[in-house]
Amino acid sequence: MERYIRRALAVFAIAFAFSGLAAQAAGDIGLSRNWKVCAGDTFELPKDIFTEWVPVGCETVDCCPGCPGILDKLSWRIKVEGAPLESATLKFSRLPKDIAAGLKFEGTAQGSAENLLISKGEGSISGLPVELAGRAAVAQVDVSLDQAWLQGQAKQSQAAMLANVEDADDSGSITIEQYYDKYRVNEYKIAFRFPRCFFPLRDRIVLSNNASGDSASVLVDARRSTGCVFEEEHKGAGIIGMGSVLSNGGCRSEVAVFSDDDAMKLVPGVVAWTDPLGDTLGVNLTPDRLMARVHVWLVRPGSFFTALGDINNANLLYNTNNSGIGFTPIFHDVSTSLLALLTIGSGCGNAAAVIGSSFFVPGQLNAYYVNGAFTGVNCGADRNIQYVGTTANNQTLAHEFGHSMSLDHTNGNPAFPITNVMIGGGSARTHFADGQSFRMNAHCSSTLNSNGTRSGPIRRCGSTISGNVACSIFTDTHCPPLAADVLPK
């Protein structure tokens, strides 16, 4: 009885204390994806941009903290919103036949569990299982664009660019909320923005030595008839139409290019643009990707495969996000060395001892796989040091390398989806924004620069963490916004 009274009083106190926050938190759904793609490109975009997989079931294993009654069935509320989106098609897999046959659909939902169409507006599904034996059921969600909107957008995009009218964009989103009665127990949201970005081939950027021939991301500062523009977003593998770019006048003029298998190219002080049309700015993407050496110290017995998997994923993530950075591991198995165990310890508290030891290579990245029950940490004492514990996930090392190269967490920044590698938690992080790649490359105290892996123009960017060297106050502070991003990669 005493326990119930204590719990009841705790409920009362906490409900009172948090009453002002509840409404805000209830509507707060982190974006799983946040796409921004040119309306004119949508015909050619890879299909996976418009396909997602959403597991059926609760986020926590007890499903619904403090919920009444016996948890049996869930309902889904699916919202398709925004002019660019026409519908979402759901196909459930691993759903037992009797449950699939018993599902009920309302609102804009029509069809069956194998092929369910949710038109614009809100549709709902009831009768989904809270839990199944074995793996959870999954819905494949395919998003369809409104064809009439697409055609209209392409026309308007060209007309607006030719008339030098300011850019405009439309947005849409798909939200899936899973409910037990009135209690939301899981959620998923994907957002799309479709800016009009048609740039005819009048002035142009021509990329050369694009190692993988991929569609590179380009951020441009320049002058247009509307005035100075900053971080204007472009994409292309070779010749990129720029429309009409004018002579610099009083505007900053520079270009940053991000491409698979090539180092980030920062071209400051561009003088190629003139007022007449027909200008070409050539950008040579040599050298190829910058490879940072990583000394991987295997203190924990049997940690080789984890370390290898982590390095592999770091290479995949950094390169496929066009950061221009890769990692070359050098493995050191010190698991039988008592001296290594004592010196390296299991966290940043040992960083000072490590720095003065033979278990550290100065001026290069060092990753320590230790026997501590934590995920990972990058050490402020020397950003070249990261510890990886026994409960890390396959993105932990890539995340710590991000800190090493000056990146901070992106938690709470609504411009970043929960899949950003620098979110301070999560299990499915796959993305870096170009604004982050810029900092890892160009920020003065990034280990890429302080270790000498990169030589080139540097900047003193905001939204960064302290590094191994102090940045001169005279260093140029012009950097793209952290969330600047040209999609898709």
């Binding site: 597991p55 903290p65 940490v377 299990s427």
Partner: protein, 170 residues
């Protein structure tokens, strides 16, 4: 007279406590959501330097059943599936990528790769749940920790449970 007075006091206490008791059984949807989000934020944080555990501790014993369930059973099937799909997709991308990039060395099968990371993921849930229960304290938290300390799992999980059980305010 004394018993009459005691009866009034008892009735007063009952009037105050009964509505609160029913609230304990049924948290509001908003509060339930907040607790879930606070629990998941803690269970999944990377360095956990942004006050995640303190934010969770504000909910006191209300978060204990969810933490206890995470300690006993790990991530939910849906959460586990999300990570599994991510791992499978990553492995497939690495296979594709390794055809043109020799720095990728795939020395494990997809099943081995997925299993290795899923085990760490489950362990992370158990370790974090134990740490939060240790901080929450109280009879329920202690019960979950004591039960977990009798199970033998991974060395790192067992150590975290033992440490939390040792330090819990009973």
């Amino acid at each position: 007279m004394k018993s009459f007075k005691q009866m009034w006091v008892a009735a007063g206490v009952a009037l105050l406590v009964v509505p609160v008791l029913s609230a304990a059984a049924d948290l509001s949807p908003e509060l339930s959501l907040e607790i879930r989000q606070a629990v998941v934020t803690w269970l999944e944080c990377e360095e956990c330097t942004d006050g995640e555990l303190d934010a969770l501790a504000r909910y006191g014993e209300l978060a204990v059943p969810t933490l206890g369930a995470a300690l006993e059973r790990g991530p939910s099937p849906a959460t586990l599936e999300k990570y599994r799909m991510h791992l499978e997709s990553t492995y497939q991308k690495m296979v594709e990528y390794s055809r043109t990039h020799e720095e990728i060395k795939l020395d494990q099968s997809q099943d081995e790769y997925v299993k290795m990371y899923l085990e760490s993921y489950r362990a992370n849930y158990a370790v974090r749940a134990a740490q939060a229960l240790g901080k929450a304290g109280g009879r329920e938290a202690t019960r979950y920790l004591d039960a977990a300390s009798k199970r033998k799992t991974r060395e790192d999980v067992d150590a975290a449970v033992q440490e939390a059980a040792k330090g819990v305010a009973r």
